[in-house]
Symmetry: C2
Subunit: 444 residues, 2 copies
């Protein structure tokens, strides 16, 4: 019987675990869910057949080695910076590893040894990155198969809140790791426009968003996401003229978030020793130029806005200008902002989240015609446990694990899901779970 070890039973692991356990008995494999918190693990396995829940502290090298040695396939749902020791062990003990995280330079350094040891280290197989790569590659490969040339690829994705649960001015609630939302975008974005490299530093990123229309759902802000340039090679489209991967937020979110960035509230690189009785009002006053207790007026001056402007209302709504205590002795500005927003951006029990993804392809056909095509996915969650985020991150991972157990994936080394061997089976199966792209020809 094959054995799968899942490390980290966090927010995004529900669908992943349900899927695997729904196949485990019939397909003769077992799933061990390991978490630092036994209850988190147990609440996910629900003691179903062929499941086991265990406590595992991955910093305990002995226990980590023991458990990885017992498995055939390891899934790491740990925060990205914690994957590396797990990946090292997997290569050493010749176990396959699957994660939804971006390939780091550290992980990439294991490629040769992984190939030598007949091991697959499959990364970026969640939603974004994950479904984005797979769905884009299926279209790109089809265009190329028909003799077409791709001139422009722009791809956007956002984990948002469904319209029916959208009852705050930001149109945002946390459906995944809040920390990742707070520090999102903190490296100069790299992309390509009409053949020219474009570099956009963090302090201009949210001020440079563009509006993207998604039919039936209105307009969204889109800001550039990390390094789009590197995917030219990975996608096999090295001569493309425009290439941009971006993140979606409700319209106005980016402009308001830019105020936080400009104030300095998202900085996670310094540790401040806060005075006693330090309030959020004290906190923002420390970042605003000038002095005085009329914080709204100082904020308006800083942003060059009026009290009645929506951006000011959005910021005031967070409580950042209020007299609640920060309640931290020491921390970064980003930690303070996260603590505040975690109270305001709660996905309540009956709230539904929403995942939106849209690719826009511009290409020239073999016959020389210029075409434009969009491919759009919208998935709505059921509640704050069965989220669209958890579903779209977890299912591709789970399906890849199952295909690997079945011997349907033969790739080895460090991989991302851009090859038909992986994406064909998974995209087809995702449709059965309601995760479907709608393609539409647009005016070129």
């Amino acid at each position: 019987m094959k054995s799968v070890l899942l490390i980290g039973a966090g927010k995004s692991s529900g669908y992943l675990i349900d899927y695997l356990l729904s196949h485990a008995v019939a397909e003769n494999f077992e799933l061990t869910v390991a978490d630092i918190n036994m209850e988190a693990a147990l609440s996910k396995t629900k003691s179903l057949p062929n499941s086991k829940a265990i406590v595992l502290d991955i910093n305990n090298q002995y226990e980590r080695h023991q458990n990885i040695q017992k498995a055939d396939i390891v899934i790491s749902m740990l925060p990205a910076f914690m994957h590396f020791p797990v990946a090292q062990d997997c290569v050493t003990y010749k176990k396959h590893l699957i994660t939804a995280s971006y390939v780091s330079a550290e992980i990439m350094s294991l490629n040769e040894l992984a190939i030598k040891n007949d091991v697959l280290l499959l990364n970026e197989i969640g939603l974004d990155p994950g479904i984005d790569h797979m769905s884009a590659m299926r279209v790109i490969h089809e265009i190329q198969r028909n003799g077409g040339v791709l001139n422009s690829f722009r791809s956007f994705c956002g984990g948002l809140v469904a319209p029916e649960s959208n009852n705050n001015p930001w149109g945002y609630k946390f459906s995944w790791n809040p920390r990742n939302v707070i520090v999102a975008g903190q490296a100069t974005a790299q992309y390509l426009t009409n053949g020219e490299y474009k570099f956009l530093p963090y302090h201009r990123l949210f001020a440079s968003s563009e509006l993207i229309e998604v039919e039936g759902y209105g307009k969204f802000d889109a800001y550039a996401n990390r390094d789009s340039l590197s995917y030219r090679k990975i996608y096999g489209i090295e001569n493309i003229k425009t290439m941009l991967r971006g993140t979606l937020r409700q319209h106005l979110f980016c402009e308001a978030w830019h105020v936080f960035v400009m104030l300095g509230l998202t900085d996670d690189s310094i540790q401040i020793n806060f005075p006693k009785q330090y309030t959020y009002a004290n906190f923002i006053s420390s970042f605003l130029p000038g002095s005085g207790s009329d914080l709204v007026q100082r904020l308006c001056q800083f942003t060059n806005k009026k009290v009645e402007d929506e951006i000011i209302k959005m910021i005031v709504w967070t409580g950042l200008l209020g007299n609640d205590l920060v309640g931290l002795e020491k921390g970064s500005p980003a930690m303070v902002l996260q603590k505040l927003l975690e109270k305001k951006w709660v996905l309540e029990e009956s709230d539904k989240d929403m995942v939106v993804m849209q690719h826009v392809f511009e290409y020239t056909t073999a016959k020389g015609a210029d075409k434009k095509m969009s491919s759009t996915l919208v998935t709505i969650g059921e509640n704050n446990q069965k989220t669209a985020m958890s579903k779209t991150v977890g299912l591709p991972l789970a399906m890849a694990v199952r295909r690997l157990i079945k011997g349907q994936i033969k790739l080895r080394g460090v991989q991302v899901p851009v090859l038909p061997e992986i994406y064909e089976l998974i995209l087809d199966e995702l449709v059965l779970h309601g995760i479907t792209f709608v393609e539409k020809e647009e005016l070129a």
Copy 2:
């Protein structure tokens, strides 16, 4: 015979080595100068009596251990991030260590073991940090001894170019590590104004400079330097109302540098793979919004300035809009900017650099009178080898080493020079080398 090991014979080590070797024979100690480059070491020792030059790669653990074990006192002139293994060895082998760098959290973690092993880890004993601490503490201790209360302390320092050698629009040439100039200020500055904590993120730092007048030398831009708050405790002035440490530049430097920051050119956190034949004009075009070959006009639009404005002239003067090749295959924006400026901000052989330091103290005397006092140091270098920077960084370090050999410094553990035991002897001796503060009562 006592033995001193100096690791790193870079730009700032000339005066340091000359001073020690001028005392070595009479006071019966020897100096070993270790560098990764034998010529650099030999050019500094000049084979003088009681000197030795050796090649040392500090990443070679065996050689590092061997050489540290042979020494009584180690001076590390390495880049700050490389001190830690040396400091660990010093504590293990019970050798004193002296550096001109800021105390890092890592170094601080060695405090208890250093005390236990009867070892002194003396840091921040160069110019800034170094002479600033010593000269400020002598004044602060005198105010306190007379029953006064310090209300405000503001301290500024800059490594600049002397007026007679100032022949470029930035008023700047590299008199120390260029990299440190390019990435200076890349963490939210923390200071105190009228009892309120102030936090200033990097992308507003250079836009928030203030003008500081230094008698006889005109007005300088001053921008806030790192974490001023932490020095309240170190200086023993925990109830002070205003506390700011800042860095000086020629007037307009900060406004022009802010354009580089806003463009994103000082980012050192991403690696870009540059296309072939990539020019500086391509580089800045990638950061400027919009497109088109009229870079000056796009720069004017970005900065909201006119072609004839001094700030635009300063930027154009660097060659950033020109067609020279960048000549890097891969690197960060900061590396590209450094490469460009290293060609333009050369301290030529006969050029003289200038160090300016000014403290401004505001205090209430025992009798209740409000006083304001400034204390100012200006030191001009002799040429591009015998720089004011090398002199003011190297001499305090060298003097501390000599006092330690003589047994005049009994402190142990992790220290910075804020106690009379260190600063009295050194400040008095610095005067003999022309490093003298001029005190002046100002209007309160």
